[in-house]
């Protein structure tokens, strides 16, 4: 899937650069806006159907909510700091930070709301985040602790990077990782929209 994603965006860039006339591009943007609504609706179905998380939470205790809390605050503060470095608007840097590593969604959403450049930054940020996460998980699990291995993964700690975290830690941390991913994933569409609209 990762390859398909990279290839489809590269083919798109090629088409936009060499092939497509502006009329096609503007009508494609309209279709894309509608598809985004459909996509977010489908994401919502996943969010609403995740009832198992309450059972999981009861099992391991509410204390584990500290992990997603740290991941959310950490991503927002980190985004804010880097935004200052480049003199970017506060709402934009917070919105980029709240992608939480889910590159397919936050990039698309911010392109729709804030234009091509912001969309591209959000997309690439989360692609880099995933690459770094894959490298960091085993190192963090070994040098710091199992919970910290969940930190870089963000929203992906429930699917893409869950097998890696499980392998580097233990089954209990895997459950925490899953809970963390569900919470962060559910919040991505909400927080990206919320923070972008602050500006």
């Amino acid at each position: 899937m990762t390859y398909i994603i990279i290839v489809s965006i590269l083919i798109g860039m090629g088409c936009g650069y060499f092939v497509f006339p502006p009329e096609i591009i503007s009508s494609m943007d309209k279709v894309a806006s509608i598809s985004l609504f459909a996509l977010i609706f489908l994401v919502g179905i996943d969010v609403g159907g995740n009832k198992k998380i309450f059972k999981d939470l009861k099992k391991v205790g509410l204390k584990v909510l500290l992990i997603p809390f740290g991941g959310i605050v950490g991503s927002l503060v980190g985004g804010l700091l880097v935004g200052f470095l480049f003199n970017m608007a506060i709402n934009e840097s917070l919105a980029i930070g709240s992608g939480f590593g889910w590159y397919s969604i936050s990039g698309i959403m911010l392109k729709e709301m804030g234009g091509d450049t912001l969309g591209a930054i959000a997309f690439l940020t989360n692609v880099f985040r995933e690459i770094l996460t894959v490298i960091l998980i085993p190192i963090l699990a070994k040098k710091l602790n199992g919970y910290t291995a969940i930190a870089p993964a963000g929203a992906t700690s429930m699917d893409t990077t869950l097998p890696l975290i499980a392998k580097a830690t233990n089954p209990e941390i895997a459950v925490v990782s899953f809970i963390n991913g569900v919470i962060l994933s559910s919040l991505v569409p909400v927080l990206v929209t919320f923070f972008y609209n602050l500006g």
């Binding site: 994603i5 965006i9 860039m13 090629g14 088409c15 936009g16 650069y17 502006p22 591009i25 894309a32 985004l36 609504f37 996509l39 609706f41 489908l42 994401v43 919502g44 179905i45 996943d46 969010v47 609403g48 159907g49 995740n50 009832k51 099992k59 205790g61 992990i67 740290g70 991941g71 605050v73 950490g74 880097v82 930070g97 590593g101 590159y103 397919s104 698309i108 091509d116 969309g119 930054i121 997309f123 690439l124 940020t125 880099f128 985040r129 770094l132 919970y147 910290t148 930190a151 963000g154 699917d159 869950l162 097998p163 499980a166 233990n170 209990e172 459950v175 899953f178 909400v190 929209t193």
Partner: protein, 121 residues
């Protein structure tokens, strides 16, 4: 902001619909299709935008630093919080005093992993 309406509507539908494994798979596949199309169209806009193509190195650098920054602060915070407040690994269920034996936990985790297989962000 309208996007949030789509999310909330979806969540309500998802809460009452009770999708089975099959339904979840179909939903996942549809999402993948949507994502592929939307990323393709994002690629088209980027490719057609000569400014972005010109600025790609600086956009790449910004993005990389955003990734490092968000990951970095998350690691520091979660490390501090977990060292201070969380039970040592493997002790989670013991601290909660639950009659959760090692086997159930392993079973649980395997279930999660099976669910996650083939999914992608």
């Amino acid at each position: 902001m309208e996007i949030l309406i789509a999310l909330v509507l979806g969540a309500i539908v998802g809460y009452f619909l009770k999708l089975g494994e099959k339904g979840k798979n179909v939903n996942g596949k549809l999402q993948q299709l949507g994502v592929i199309f939307l990323l393709f169209s994002m690629g088209v806009s980027i490719g057609a935008d000569k400014d972005i193509i010109k600025n790609l190195p600086s956009i790449g650098l910004k993005s990389f630093l955003f990734a490092v920054g968000t990951i970095g602060v998350s690691i520091v915070l979660i490390y501090i919080l977990s060292e201070k407040f969380m039970p040592k690994e493997n002790q989670l269920h013991k601290e909660k005093n639950l009659n959760l034996d090692e086997e159930t936990i392993v079973e649980n985790a395997n279930e999660l992993l099976n669910e996650a297989c083939g999914e992608d962000k």
